[in-house]
Symmetry: C2
Subunit: 288 residues, 2 copies
């Protein structure tokens, strides 16, 4: 079998379920790459109309039944619980051989649920594009969102090479340059640190009771550290709850990490403080 058999054909039918900022941006990226059958499914016809007008999808419907039965690739861009619900309630109408993927920020519990109900002639391969926006909705979608971003794919034992490589092809087509595979459990442990912790930190900072006129006294470092405090509380409530052990463990580690710095400052331990800063600085230099 040739390598290119695993890619996504230009005329394949691709369904995007949920035309929010992520779904819309994926659609836009695919449309820009010349895919001709990118179909949006959303509960709101106005959102589909906007998606078509903005060139994010070829067309769409509020009726999943009009699109799902023909789709070779289904990209579900809903909240985690809704992702499971959508797959469950449309199980009978997916096209034989279709590959289904998602964009959810948690994986293990979600995939366990999906695997337990999946038809044997379909495959679900979890995916997590590591980019996003603190703004919501189709109006904030843009086709370059994933340019150069990381994309984690979380195959499970039942996945075939064909299905995994199809989702990898999707990641590449939307612009991701760093596509890696992790088990669902490894994904959730890694993400508790790299994604959930920056959000916890931003929330904690904004919860601290700002000094009078915070607006007047902050600089770029505060703005950057708190950008993601403008959060979608329904989505992030689900993500935190579904990953609670890992997130709680990371918060504990972060508190301990801050304690080491606090003690160095209180004890005027300048060499310890310098070591912490030089190590952090070198690490940060390595990752970007």
């Amino acid at each position: 079998m040739r390598e290119c058999d695993f890619s996504i054909g230009r005329f394949e039918d691709i369904a995007i379920v949920g035309l929010g900022v992520i779904g819309g941006s994926i659609g836009g990226a695919l449309m820009q790459k010349g895919f001709e059958n990118v179909w949006g499914i959303d509960i709101d016809q106005g959102i589909i109309d906007t998606g078509v007008k903005r060139g994010l999808v070829s067309g769409g419907s509020t009726e999943a039944g009009e699109i799902i039965p023909k789709a070779d690739l289904v990209i579900i861009c809903l909240y985690p619980h809704d992702t499971v619900e959508f797959i469950k309630s449309h199980m009978d109408i997916f096209k034989k051989g279709a590959v289904i993927t998602d964009v959810s920020g948690i994986k293990e519990g979600l995939i366990d649920q999906i695997e337990s109900i999946m038809r044997s002639d379909l495959e679900f391969v979890g995916g997590h594009p590591m980019a996003g926006s603190e703004s919501q909705g189709v109006n904030h979608a843009y086709s370059s969102m994933f340019e150069g971003a990381n994309y984690i794919i979380t195959p499970c034992k039942s996945n075939t090479k064909r299905a995994i490589m199809k989702v990898e092809a999707l990641a590449g087509q939307i612009g991701c340059t760093n596509i890696t595979r992790l088990s669902p459990g490894e994904h959730d442990r890694a993400i508790a640190f790299t994604s959930h912790m920056p959000h916890i930190v931003a929330l904690a900072l904004m919860s601290m009771g700002s000094p009078e006129c915070l607006k007047d006294f902050m600089g770029t470092s505060f703005k950057d550290a708190t950008r993601v405090a403008q959060i979608n509380s329904r989505l992030w409530g689900e993500l935190f709850m579904e990953n609670k052990e890992n997130v709680a463990h990371q918060i504990q580690k972060m508190q301990e990490s801050m304690e080491v710095i606090k003690q160095a400052i209180i004890n005027s331990d300048e060499s310890e403080l310098e070591k912490i800063m030089d190590t952090a600085s070198a690490r940060r230099g390595e990752i970007c």
Copy 2:
């Protein structure tokens, strides 16, 4: 006396002591505004040459004695301890009536030391432009660094209206749009939160022992939260140590703020978590 008497004359001699990324950027902004006598002082002639070549200063010298005696306005862009040392060791040669200011991120201890040695025919007015760069040196200076930034001025009792307004005029000329006055002590308390805490958070995150291949699993939120972990450890060591009580207090508050979130997650208290997120989100929306 007319209001404009407090401003900075186009032909006044302005000295910038230390042509680093901050000093160079201030010089560049003043040059762009048409000031004709902006003089750099640095220990390295090569840096002065670069500053002149890049249009950041009109000229300069490695000998402070060639510039300080003629300067009407002296902007000291050195590390906090060096700022005090520079003023101390050049006290005899400042021009009568000169206004001296700085850009240091801590104020109370610094200003106490400076005030105690200041000649009666000079004035020191503390200033803190709230912008910067994680990159160091004259090559990273750029004239638009302070466009739209905050600038805190920390007058003390002995300062005249003339001197304070001169430093305010400087802040406005380099592009700051939000210029406020605080006492040195109020400044240090506010900054422990708005500036020192984002740096502590970035350091703590980068100290946590990154999971394997952090590079592959992070998104924009992690990058933004850790940008300032690439830190100038000598400068920040001084800032943390000079503001240790306030910084330690803020770290404690941050640990407690994270504890509240951790408990809500552990206890699956979804309504508490939602309240925290919605409050943080609304506050963040207000300040930017």
